[in-house]
Amino acid sequence: MSGTHVGSPIAARVRHVEALLEHRGLLDDGEIDRRIDEFLAGGSPANGARVTARAWVDPGFAERLLADANGAIRELGLSMSGGLQEQRLKVVANTEAEHNVVVCTLCSCYPIALLGPSPGWYKSEAYRSRVVRDPRGVLREFGLQLPGTTRISVWDASAESRYMVLPRRPAGTERLGEEELAGLVTRKGLIGTAAV
C-alpha cells in the first residue's frame, strides 16, 4: 500500500481501489509509490535553471531550444521521457515586448523533469481560473509589475505538451559564468510568475 494519504473522501476511494488491486494481485505492495518515485527522480528546478543559463550564454542553443526543446535539452543530458512516454516540451521566451506565463486550467500539467514537483499554488483553483482572465492582476499579486507596453501571453497546458518559460537575462550579469547565472534562476521565473 502506498504511503501518505490525506483524509479526504477521494483519498479514501483511491486507497480502497488500490487495496482491491493489490488483493487481486494486479499491483504489488508499494508499487505505486515506487512508480511515482521513479517518475520524480532527478526532476528539479535546477534542471530548468541549467537550460536557461545555457540559453543565455549560447545563442545557438537558445535557437534550438525554442525550435525543438526536446532535442535541445538532450544536449544537456536531460529528457522529458520519465513517464509512460516522452512528453513534448515547448519553451517560450520572455522578451521586453512579451511576457509568457504557464497554467494548466484543466488540472495541473507541469514539466516535472525540468521543474520538479509543482508548487501548491500552481494547482490551486484560484491560480488556474484567474491567470487566464487577468494575468496582469495575478502577476502583480506575485510581485511582478510589468510595464503596460509588455504584452502578456498565457499558455494553457490543456493537452500533451509541457511548457517552460525562458526568462530574460537580468541586466548587469555580463561577467557571470554559466553556473552563477543558473543560480539566479527561480522556479517562479520558469513558470512566468516572476522575473529573474
Binding site: 484543466l106 482572465r133 504584452r151 502578456i152 494553457d156 490543456s158 493537452a159 505538451s161
Partner: protein, 92 residues
Amino acid sequence: MPDLAPGMRVRTRSTDPDGHTRLPRYARGAVGVLVEEAGVHPLADERARGRAGTPQPVWHVRFAAADLFGAGDHTVTVELWEDYLVPIGERA
C-alpha cells in the same frame, strides 16, 4: 476538414460533451488563430471513454482575451485537438 496550417483562423466547437474533454469551457465557441502544430496524439475524449483514441494533430491555438472574456489585452494559447476546431468559412 481542409488541411490546417499556421495562421489559419478557426472556431472551436461550442458543444458541451457528456464526458471528459480537453476543450476548456472558457475556450468554447471562440475564434482563434493556429500558431503551431504540437504533435499528433490520440483524442483524449475517446481515451477517457476507454477507447484507443484516433491519433490526430493537436494545435496551439491563440485567442485574444477580449474574445474569450470580453475584456483583457493579453492572449491565451490553448492546445486543442483538430476534432475541436472548425476552420472559419466552413460551416460546422
